[in-house]
């Protein structure tokens, strides 16, 4: 009997155990992702481009077959609608760029590196997205990531042009913040609850002037995020009691389900 046929069960068991044990013993807990991570990110980028392309092709096919059957007037209506949609898109883009220009002028020492979201973590336990960096600029772990809406998270792992971004609603994420109105200090922590996008606002002192609806911004403490970036708005606030701190819930400014393009803030040091 050949060696493989005779011992295939044992070989399979050894290999099955070896992979997770090797992975568990890997010292690179965060930071550099390795070549395997890069390969997976590349294949996911190709898949994203492929699915996007296929959707566009199907959309074009549908449009061309419909165009044959509709009246001239309907064609005009469609083209006008299309133009209108495009103009709305241009206005939104303009608005986004204006906000980014505002950030640039307020923080001239930083630069924004654009990155496209290519995939998400597939488990409900972790809130991480993978991005493809659009430029050749070197990205480092822990660099802050923003969108035109506000703070997204920070770089978790990097491999060449690909990076994993840990969102602020991940349970491993913590962020030093201030209320914009009264400059009261607090810490934003991700709950990790996949059924609720809100995050926790910890260490709000009972005597601080904080109320529902207050805008929360980054404090600049901790050395990761620049100050005064919008994080979110207070949704729920525990009434004042005799305890030292009050619990609060925050609705993030960024809608994480609609992330397409994000910006890594580089050039701090």
């Amino acid at each position: 009997m050949p060696f493989w046929k005779r011992y295939n069960h044992y070989i399979a068991i050894v290999l099955l155990l070896a992979i997770p044990i090797f992975s568990l013993s890997s010292k690179a807990r965060a930071g550099e992702g390795g070549a395997l991570f890069g390969g997976a990110s590349f294949s996911q980028y190709v898949a994203t481009a492929g699915v996007g392309g296929a959707m566009g092709w199907l959309s074009d096919l549908f449009d061309s077959s419909s165009a044959k059957t509709i009246e001239d007037l309907q064609t005009q209506i469609f083209s006008l609608r299309e133009e209108n949609t495009r103009l709305i898109g241009v206005l939104q883009e303009n608005n986004r760029l204006r906000k980014l220009v505002g950030f640039k002028s307020a923080n001239p020492k930083f630069s924004l590196v654009p990155a496209d979201v290519i995939s998400r973590d597939v488990s409900p336990f972790f809130n991480v997205v993978s991005v493809r960096i659009q430029t050749d600029e070197k990205i480092l772990p822990n660099q802050p990531v923003v969108s035109h809406e506000g703070v997204v998270g920070k770089v978790y792992r990097v491999n060449r042009n690909y990076a994993d971004i840990m969102l602020i609603n991940d349970s491993r994420s913590g962020l030093d913040v201030l209320t914009q109105r009264t400059r009261a200090r607090a810490v934003v922590r991700g709950t990790g609850d996949s059924t609720n996008a809100d995050v926790q606002l910890d260490y709000v002192t009972s005597d601080s002037e904080v109320r529902k609806g207050d805008v929360i911004v980054t404090s600049g403490m901790g050395g990761v995020f620049p100050p005064d970036l919008i994080v979110g708005r207070i949704k729920e606030l525990q009434p004042k009691t005799n305890t030292m701190f009050r619990d609060a819930q925050l609705t993030p400014a960024v809608d994480f389900s609609r992330l397409k393009t994000v910006y890594v803030i580089t050039g701090k040091d």
Binding site: I19, L24, Q44, D121, V122, P124, V129, R172, T191, S194
Partner: protein, 169 residues
């Protein structure tokens, strides 16, 4: 060749799942197809081919999960061996498969909690795993049903081809 096709399909599903979630912004309804595959493979009759498929998909599963390294796949392998041990005693009709997958999902999360607690006691991902344990198990049950149906379809396709080939002889 059936196992080779299943392996390729499994790899496509694991890599494609994150891409689809990224494109459509899915946050709450993640089926964890990698874990679902592990459950279906653990319950299948042939150890060698299912173990081989699992070996091939473990690294992609590790890439697809952006948590602390190794914990997710370690729990998946533990679950695979547990299901192999119990598979002779378990019936896998659709309602039973749903229930077994739900329990398997809970066991997987529990093993993750245990390994995280033992190896990374300072980790802040424990509350996240704990708060999502039931929801994750519920969703993975649907993932397992989907994978089982897909594998059954592939199996029937190969059975028909084999019968046709024997008929031609």
């Amino acid at each position: 060749m059936e196992w080779a096709l299943k392996t390729i399909l499994s790899l496509v599903l694991i890599l494609g799942e994150g891409v689809v979630y990224g494109l459509f912004g899915v946050e709450n309804f993640t089926l964890q197809l990698g874990l679902a595959l592990t459950i279906v493979l653990g319950l299948s009759r042939d150890f060698s081919s299912s173990a081989f498929i699992l070996i091939m998909i473990l690294w992609p599963m590790e890439w697809a999960i952006r948590g602390e390294r190794g914990h997710y796949v370690f729990a998946a392998v533990t679950l695979f061996f547990l299901l192999r041990f119990l598979s002779a005693k378990l019936k896998t009709s659709i309602p039973q498969l749903f229930f077994i997958s739900f329990c398997a999902g809970m066991v997987h999360s529990s093993v993750m909690i245990l390994t995280t607690f033992l190896l990374n006691p300072d980790s802040t991902s424990l509350p996240s795993i704990l708060s999502n344990i039931v929801w994750a198990a519920f969703l993975v049950s649907f993932g397992a049903l989907f994978i089982q149906k897909l594998f059954d379809f592939l199996g029937s396709f190969y059975t028909v081809r084999r019968e046709n080939a024997l008929g031609n002889l």
